[in-house]
Every structure is written in C-alpha cells, then in structure tokens.
Amino acid sequence: MNGPENMEFFMDHSRCIGCRACVQACEECDTHRGVSMIHLETIMRPDSVQTAPQVCMHCDEPICAQVCPADAIKKTDDGVVQSSLKPRCIGCSNCVLACPFGVPKYTVEINQMMKCDMCYDRTSIGKRPMCATVCPSGALAFTTRENIERTRQGLAIREWQFGGEIVRTKVNVLVPRNVDRVDVTIEQIDTTGTDEYDVARLLAGD
C-alpha cells in the first residue's frame, strides 16, 4: 500500500507485548537474512513482562556516522541513516559503542556493522517498514502525524537527552503529554527494583 510522503515512524514502548513479530519479520529480509535489525529488549523479566523495541532512531546528526573512521555510514536526503557500506566498513565498532540507543551491531562472520535502515527498500517506494507493518500491538507504527494525533493519547516527540547531549531523531517516540524530551538517566538495574508488578504484593492489598 503506497502512502503519502508525510509518513513517519512512531514507537510506543508502553504498547509492546514482547511477541517478537517485529524481530521475526525483520530477519526475513534477504539483505540480512536470519539477523534482525530491530532489537526487542526484555527489561527485567523477574520483575515484569515489560518489553521494549528499538529501531534505529535515524538521528538528525547521526553519532554513528560522525565517529566512523571509514566514512561508511551515510544518510539519505530524506533523513534515513543507512547501514554500513560493505566496501568501507572496517569493523572497528566505534559506532556500536557510540550510539546512545545501542542500535548498530557488529557481526564477526562478515566483519561488518549492520543496523536498521527503516526498510529503505520498502519506504523508498511508499511501503511501510516490515516491523511496523506486522506489529500486532501498534507499538510500532508507520503512519502520518495527523493519524497519531487523532488516535493516540500520547505525544509524539523526537528529542532525547543523554547526559549533557541533546539528540534529535527522525523516529518519533510516544510519551506522556507533559514530556517534551526523553531524559535518559543511567540507573543501577539491580538496586532500582520495581514491585509494581509483584502479584503477591497486589494480593496482599498493598
């Protein structure tokens, strides 16, 4: 289905149900068959079933491209940051370390970095990225901003803060309406517990 050019990518972590349809569909692409470019994280299974998808955020000023010593990462005119160019990538993993979202991954079998390119073969001809097409929960959506504003209570924003650095992205994230920038503060996983989803606690009437 061809869509208008004002289609954007929207990610709503709260909707994710961890089914991994996105991962299974992404890895079907013949360019990288068997290796998914979308990452599906289980946050802390002992405490909760919460999961979160991670696609490439296609940053306005992609840090991966900036730190690449081989100039192997390019951004198209429509703002989609491509995966590494095979003739150039030297497998140094600078980009793997630099990306604040943890998107690029280095594959030792081919000595190359691979990352999500928003299914450029699909989006460049008006089709949706595969993950957003199959996602049964709507956690991943490729649609117009108008559609999101009309159908979702969350606010679609494109700005993140990592420490002292502001990162602006092409991919939208859905947040509560009072948030204008996602501020990522590093927390110690084991000491920041969550009892919110402890069924025993719910049964005790806490």
């Binding site: 299974q24 909760s48 199959v134 069924v199 049964l203």
Partner: protein
C-alpha cells in the same frame, strides 16, 4: 513458497501478524513434510507406499473393525484448523461413509464451554460483535485470555479502546503483557472466576447498575440470578476468587456504570470442569446491563485456532449436523438427510466426545481411530492415559503433513495438505467467512485432504455421495446444508467473500448483507426471542490442592508456539524464541522450596511429571505455577493435567490440577543431552 508479504487491505488485521504468522510460510517446503503415505511394517517401521495400498488398508481395517465390533467401534477425530469445506466433509464422512456416531474434533479442547454457555443464554454459538466494536467500548473485561500471546492481533483493538478513554480490566492468575497495562488487573485464582463475576454482579445490583427495563423486556431468569448472587458479597466472593475484596468492588465500579462495554473471554475461564458455568456467570454481567447488540456494546469468546468458529459449525462434533444443527432434532436430521440423499434413520445419533472416546478406547469399546488436524498425544489431558489408549487401538490412521507424536502411533499415515495447498474458507472469531486461495500444490506425493477423505469414502461404498471435483463443490453443498440452520451460509459465495472482504453469518440469501452484529434490538435466538439468564453457583475444581500436592498447576501457551507444537517446534526462529518449556514460579514460593532461577525442577501430579527449568518471576500468583503445553513426551504439561471434563461441554480441566514442585539435578537422559534446537535442555 519463498516468503510472505502482509496483506494490509484485509480489515481484521490490516497486515498485522504474530511471529508464527511471519514464519508460517516455511511449512510448505519443510524437510519434515510427509511426502507419501506411510504404512507401519513390523520389524522395519514406516515404509512409503502407494496411495492405493494405503487407502485400501485404511478402508479394509474400517470395514473389518465395524464388521467385528459394530459401526461405533471406529471413531474419527477432526480439527478446527480444517477449512469449513473439510470440516463439513468430516462430519458427512462420519455419518454417510463410516456410519459411526463417534466423531469429534479438537475444538472439544477449546471452544465448547464458551459455545455451550452462549447457546444456553443467547441461543447462538458465536461472538456477538465484530472486533470493530471493541475500541468503542468504555469498559472492557478480559477474563482468562492471554491476548498478547494467544490472540496477538486483538491487542491493538484493546489498546485503541484505552486510547479512546476506555478502561481495561484483566482477570488472570498471571500478569501477562495485557494485564500489565490494565486499569485493573485481578490476579484471580485459577478456578475462582465465579467469585469475581458473581461478586461484581452483587455490587452492581446494590448500586443500581442494572438495566431493569432491558431485563424485563428482553430476558428471562433474572430473579434466580439475583437470588443466587445475594450471598456473593465482596468478602464472600473474594474468598472464592482468591483476591482482595476491593478489587471486585473496583471492577464493578468500572463495569457497572459504563455507557458501553465489551466482555472477552478465553480458555482461562473455559478450561474447567465448570467451564460452562464460568462463562454463563460472565455473560450475566453483559445481559444485566443490557449492553449488547449495539455499537461498542458486546460480547465475544476468543477462538484458539484459525477456524475455531467455522470448525464447530458444520458437523464434525459428536452432537452436531451442518449449520450448527442438532443431531437429535428430528427436523434437523430430516433436512440434512435430504441434502445428503440418505435415509434419515441412517444418520447416527449423538456419539461420544473426545475424552470419552479415548476412555472408550482404553476400555476396549472403540478399536479403530482415524484422526486429522489434531495431535491427541500432546493435546489431551493425562498423557500417559492417552498413550495407553493409543497402544490398545487395533488400527489407527493419522492424516497429517508432519509425523507428529500422534502419527508415530499410527498404523497408516496419510500425507495431507496445508492451508496454502488447497482452496477453501474459514470463519474467523467474528463469524466472518474468509476465502483462502491456493498458492502451491502439495509436495511430491502428498495429497489435498479432502481428496483423501473422498477416496476413502469411495472405498467404503459411498462414492456417489463424495463425488466432488473441487473444494468449491464442497462449499456449494455446505451452503445448502447450512441453509435455514443457525450458522446459515446459504447467501455466502466465494465471490462475495472476495468482494466484501468476508461475509458474516447468518447470511440466509444472496442479497442479505450478512450479520456482523448479533442481537440488535434485544432480539435473541431462543424461540421466545429473549436471553435466558442462568444462575451460577461456584464449586471447586475436580482436583484442588492438598497437603501432598500443595501447588496449583495452570497450563497455557507462549506466543511463538502453536498448540501441540508439531508445526512450530520445527521452525528454528520460533524455537529460538522459546526453546524449552519452563516452570514459572513466584519468588516467595521458590524460596520456600529452595529453588533459584534456572534450577531444574520436577513438577509432579498424581498422574505424571515434567522436569524443566524454573523461571522465577513476580508476575504469577505465589500459590500457582505455570508450564506451557507445546512440548511432548517428558516435557508435556499434559503429563500432569487431570482428565476431568465439564459435564455439559466435555472440555477438559486444563487450567487447574494439584502438583508438587521440587528442585532436582539436571536431567541426563538422551533427549535432554541433545542441543537446545534439537529438543535438549542444555
């Protein structure tokens, strides 16, 4: 078959898929595909033979067994993953070719409690509303349905309802992904659902959240219900439900005054020896508010298989004739006899359902079985009993596309077809008839299922009744057979289905638009046009916990595997996602039993056990453990389950039995030592 592409134009899912749907295309050319019929030869094993030899043997054995022991000594199992055409064919095959009363299907393990309850109250076994009504509901109650893993496509509908300001209540002993986002999550004890339903109704009556006018005009039986729930105060109800009374009150406060509402339920409340009762108690909440038969006001039972709805309408049930007709009803029998061109007396009467059939095999009363679209060795409760029964059969024929665990017990295995290798229809959870195109032919010497059945029918002397040149001809006959029945397909053609992206039954004529929403204007399907309230009292499960077996075992699914696993355990990416069953256990219980995350544990009931790894998580009741059932043999959750069935629906009580859990050393048997992807546990 080299890949898949989502079909975004289809209104129900708009291209959305679960992981199994993504990988589904891999089955057609899978190396495990059965490519020829197999006959078991003593001392050798399965040997590929010609179709003539295989079919002659099957027909010969059917005739021999029936001559020796009577017609009903040969039984048939169908399944709800068959197309409507094949489901119809199985029912006709049973009554016209094999002439046995004993045909049933694997939907007996699935939809029958919901179906029986809906028939008792509303007079119809079908979801009342199209899914498009869900996002319009301001209160949604999801009872016993792990939507995220068992009906993933429904997730977006629920989330959209919340985006529209709707409130979601989820009842489940486990905090599943949809429960996490619920406005009210009720961690109900397995089997305690009536506590919540009756308790909610009690509060709703107290606070006046009942539509007395609707009740007076459109229902019967309310007085008895009101009388029964009088004692279900929040405190009394809470003891049954195993949750704080405040949750039940809060549920009533959300559901009671809502302007629109939708109730969805699935196996969590249906897989009980009181499954029908559970469903009727839930339905009372819908009818008491009058919020049914209108936009955004509805009721649905979520199916467990692709053709869970269609597969239970056209006669492959022991008590059913096509069109959801009743095999004991003289008018129904006469009509179908006319369609089939057989004497009415020749149509058998009501036979045994699935678990009683297995019991009859065990008792030596049924000597032969032909099964298609099911894997009883994994799916039926109390696996060791099923295994004993299989070994007692004098003859067993399995029609299948893989050599499943059941097929391994067969004397003859007939290589059948997948959905994409045949053309036909299924009927989805909404009652929408869907048309499936044929994409490829069955590989090598495998055959399209319906041709296999027709060839068998011919060898049993019924050739003239099974002379179909195409599955379309079967559908044309199905339309006629269903005409005038409750599940009336007469006005539905493949062309209409293509044009209209599905047609909802009942659709009695070509110019009838179909019926997406039932019960509009408060018109129900009983002769008096009213909904019949059913009073429900709670009673315990067949096997509650005791000092010897103090933990509740509940069973269910995971998202990357499907039913008995015979299709999904063969696909690498789906196995990678969930390689082995684990036992979900709360840290409070685990600590008491000295079990840590990753330890091997033995989960044992009076009937059998599994040894699996422990998955210590806070997202389950501390009195309950969960083991998914998609694995066979020594990993089968059904080693433990109890063979108790609901007296009305005959569904097995998969959702509760008593176990003890203990830490054990890692298994070293040959199966365990295999690599993970081959079925091992390392």
């Amino acid at each position: 078959m080299i890949g898949f592409e989502p079909w975004e134009d289809f209104p129900f899912n708009q291209g959305r898929l679960c992981p199994k749907g993504v990988k589904r295309y891999m089955q057609d050319e899978h190396p495990d595909r059965l490519k020829a019929p197999l006959v078991r030869k003593d001392g050798i094993g399965f040997v590929p033979v010609s179709w003539d030899e295989a079919l002659d043997k099957v027909a010969g054995e059917i005739k021999r067994i029936q001559r020796q022991y009577g017609n009903d000594a040969f039984a048939l199992f169908g399944g709800a993953s068959l197309t409507n055409e094949k489901a119809y064919l199985m029912g006709k095959f049973a009554r016209v070719a094999v002439r046995t009363a004993n045909i049933d299907y694997n939907g007996r393990l699935c939809m029958v409690s919901a179906g029986a309850a809906s028939k008792k109250v509303f007079g119809v076994d079908r979801s009342a509303n199209p899914w498009s009504d869900i996002p319009l509901a301001k209160a949604i109650l999801v009872a016993g349905a792990n939507v995220a893993e068992c009906a993933p496509i429904t997730t977006n509908y629920l989330w959209q309802a919340r985006e529209n300001g709707g409130k979601l209540i989820v009842m489940d002993p486990r905090m599943t992904p949809i429960a996490r986002n619920a406005d009210l999550y009720i961690p109900v004890r397995s089997g305690g659902d009536i506590g919540v339903f009756n308790g909610m109704l009690h509060v709703m009556i107290e606070r006046g959240w009942i539509d007395r006018e609707f009740i007076a005009q459109h229902t019967t039986g309310w007085e008895q219900v009101e009388e029964v729930v009088r004692k279900y105060t929040p405190q009394y109800a809470a003891r049954i439900a195993g949750v704080p009374a405040g949750m039940i009150v809060k549920a009533a406060e959300i559901w009671g005054p809502a302007p629109s509402s939708f109730l969805l339920h699935a196996r969590g409340i249906e897989h009980h020896s009181k499954g029908v009762q559970n469903c009727m108690a839930a339905i009372n909440l819908v009818v008491a508010t009058g919020r049914i038969g209108k936009e955004g006001c509805g009721y649905a039972m979520i199916t467990g298989q692709g053709n869970g709805q269609g597969g239970r309408e056209q006669g492959q049930k022991c008590d059913q004739l096509p069109g959801a007709r009743d095999i004991e009803n003289p008018d129904h029998r006469k009509y179908i006899a006319g369609v089939w061109g057989v004497p009415e007396e020749s149509i058998p009467h009501k036979g045994l359902s699935m678990v009683p059939i297995v019991e009859a095999v065990h008792e030596g009363k049924i000597k032969g079985l032909l099964a298609i679209s099911c894997n009883p060795m994994v799916s039926l409760p109390n696996n060791s009993y099923v295994r004993e029964a299989c070994e007692k059969l004098e003859f067993f024929c399995q029609v299948d596309f893989f050599l499943s665990e059941s097929a391994r017990y067969a004397d003859v295995v007939l290589a059948g077809s997948l959905m994409e290798e045949d053309e036909g229809t299924t009927t989805n959870v909404e009652g929408r008839v869907i048309h499936h195109q044929k994409a490829v032919s069955p590989p090598a010497d495998a055959r399209v299922d319906w041709k296999i059945i027709c060839d068998l029918a011919a060898r049993l002397g019924a050739a003239d009744k099974f002379r179909y040149n195409s599955s379309r001809e079967i559908f044309e006959e199905l339309r006629l057979a269903s005409k005038g029945g409750i599940a009336d397909y007469y006005g539905i053609t493949w062309e209409r289905v293509d044009r209209e992206k599905g047609v909802f039954w009942p659709c009695p004529s070509a110019d009838h638009p179909g019926t997406p929403r039932l019960y509009e204007g408060g018109k129900f399907n009983h002769p008096d046009g009213k909904a019949h309230f059913q009073p429900v009292e709670w009673k315990p499960a067949a096997e509650e916990t005791d000092s010897e077996y103090p933990v509740i075992l509940t069973t269910g699914r995971v998202v990357s595997h499907y039913l008995s696993g015979t299709q999904t355990r063969r696909i690498g990416a789906l196995v990678d996602q969930y390689p082995q069953p684990v036992c979900e256990i709360h840290p409070l219980l685990a600590t008491r039993l000295d079990i840590a995350e990753g330890d091997f544990v033995k989960v044992e009931s009076r009937r059998g056990s599994v040894i699996v790894r422990a998955n210590v998580v806070k997202t389950i009741r501390p009195d309950t453990v969960f083991v998914p059932y998609h694995w066979p043999l020594d990993r089968a959750a059904n080693n433990m389950t109890v063979r108790a069935i609901d007296p009305i629906s005959n569904i097995p009580e998969f959702k509760i039995c008593a176990v003890r859990v203990s830490k054990v050393s890692p298994p070293h048997d040959a199966l365990a030592e295999l690599p993970m992807e081959a079925g091992g546990v390392r």
